[in-house]
Amino acid sequence: MKRLLGVALGILTAIGGFVDIGDLVTNAVVGSRFGLSLVWVVAVGVVGICLFANMSGRVAAVSGRATFEVIRERLGARAGLANLAASFLINLMTVTAEIGGIALSLQLASSVDYLLWIPVAAVAVWLVIWRVRFSIMENVTGLLGLTLVIFAVAVFLLKPDWGALAGQLAPTVPQQETFWSYSYYAIALFGAAMTPYEVFFFSSGAVEEKWSVKDLAQSRINVLVGFPLGGLLSVSIAVCAAIVLLPAGVSVTSLSQVVLPVAEGAGKLGLAFVLVGMVAATFGAALETTLSSGYTLAQFFGWSWGKFRRPAQAARFHLSMIVCLLVGMAVLATGVDPVLVTEYSVVFSAIALPLTYLPILIVANDPQYMGEHVNGRVVNVLGMVFLVIILVASIAAIPLMIVTGAGS
C-alpha cells in the first residue's frame, strides 16, 4: 500500500512539475497563432524528455554521478568549461524567466505591479532552498501544480467543435504564417518540452534522494506515466488558446492572455485554480532551475553540493545559488518583459540541448560506469534518432531566429 502511494505521489508530482513558464507561454503563443498544427512537436518532445530523463536518472542511480560530473569527466576541463558556460547561462535565463513568471502570476491575482513581486518571489525561492527538505519541496509544488489540470477541464467546458479541432492537428502551416515562423516555433516548443535543466535536476535529484538500482523501476514509472500526462497538460494550454484566442485574432504576448480561455470556460473558480497552478508551477520550476545552477557549478568544480548536506557544509553551492537569484532579480529589475525572456530561454535551451544529451548518451553506454545497466538496443536507436533531431533543431535555431525576427 505504501509503495503504491509512493508511486502515485511520484506520478502526480511528475505531472504537476512538468509545466513551467516556458511551457505555459510557448504553448499559449503557439495555440493562438498556429492552432493545433504544432501539437506533434510536443509529442516528439515528450518522448525525448522521457528517454533522456530516464537515462540520466539511471546513470545517477547506478554510478552515483550526476550529469555535470559526467560532462566534466568526458569532455575534459576546457570543452567541459565551454559546455558549462553555455548551459549555465541558459539556465540562468530560465531562472530569470521563472521568477518573472511567479511575479506575473501574482500580479494577475492581486493587480499589484509584478516588479514589486519580484523580490518577494526571489526571497521565497531562496528561503525554500535554504530551509525546506528536498522531498517536501518537490511534492508540495508538484501537487499544487496539478491544479493546472483546469486547462484540460476548460477545454471540455468550452464545448469546442471537436471535428474542427481534430482537423487542425495536421502539421500544416496556417495561412497567415510563414514556413519559417512555423519552424521557429516548432523549435521553441521542442526546447520548452525538453528543457535541459530537467535533466540536470532529475539526475541531481536522484543523488539527493539517494536512489539506488532498486529505485529505478519506480523512477521509470514516474517518468513514463507522469511526463506524457504532463505533456498532455501542456497541449491543453495550446488547445485552450486555439479555441478562444485564435478566432478572436489575439496572438499571445502576455501571461494575462494565457488565462483568459480558462476564465471563459470555467469562470472565476477556474481562474482561481489556474492562478494557484501557475504560481506553484513557476515557483517549483524556479526552485528546480536555481538548484540546477548550483548543481552544475558545484558538480563541475568539484564542490560539495546537495540539499542533503547542511548549508554550512555546502557553502559555495548555496552561495552560487544566491548569486544566481540576485542576477535574475537584477535582470528583471531593468523592466525587460519576462514573457520575452521566456521565449528566448526556450529557444536557447533548444540550441544547448546537444551539450547535455550527447554526454549522457555516451556514458549510459559505458559498461565501466553502468555495469549491466547500459542502454539497451531500442533505447540506443531512439537515443540516436533524438540526437539527430536535437542537432538539427540546435543548428537551425539561430538562422531561423534571424529570418523570422525571433518569431514576430
Partner: protein, 115 residues
Amino acid sequence: MILGDLLGTPVLDADGGRLGRVADVRFVLDGTPHQLMAEPRLLGLVVGPHSASSFMGYERNGLTRPRMIARILRWRHRGSFLVLWEDIAVVGNRSVRLRPGFTRYSTALDDHAQA
C-alpha cells in the same frame, strides 16, 4: 608547465615534419603505493593527426555503442598513436619534438587488462 598547456600543441618528428597535435596525456600507476594512492607516472603523449579533441572514452576497446557515435569518434581520431616519454626529445612552448626512430604504440585501451 601545466599539462593543459601541452594539449593541442603541435608534435613534430625529428626532421621537423608535422605529425599532429597532443590529444591526451597518459599516466601509469606503478610506483610503491603511498598513503592512499600510488604516484602517477607520465607514460607518454597521445598524438592525433586529425583532431586534438577528447576521445570521450572511446579509446577503450570495450566501448562500441552507440555504434554511430563510436564510429564517428574513432574516425575523427584515426591514425592517432601513443609515443612514450622516452621517445620525446624536446617539449617546447610551441611544439613537441620526437627523437628519431620513435615507436608508435596503439592508443587503444584493452578492457580485459583492467580486471
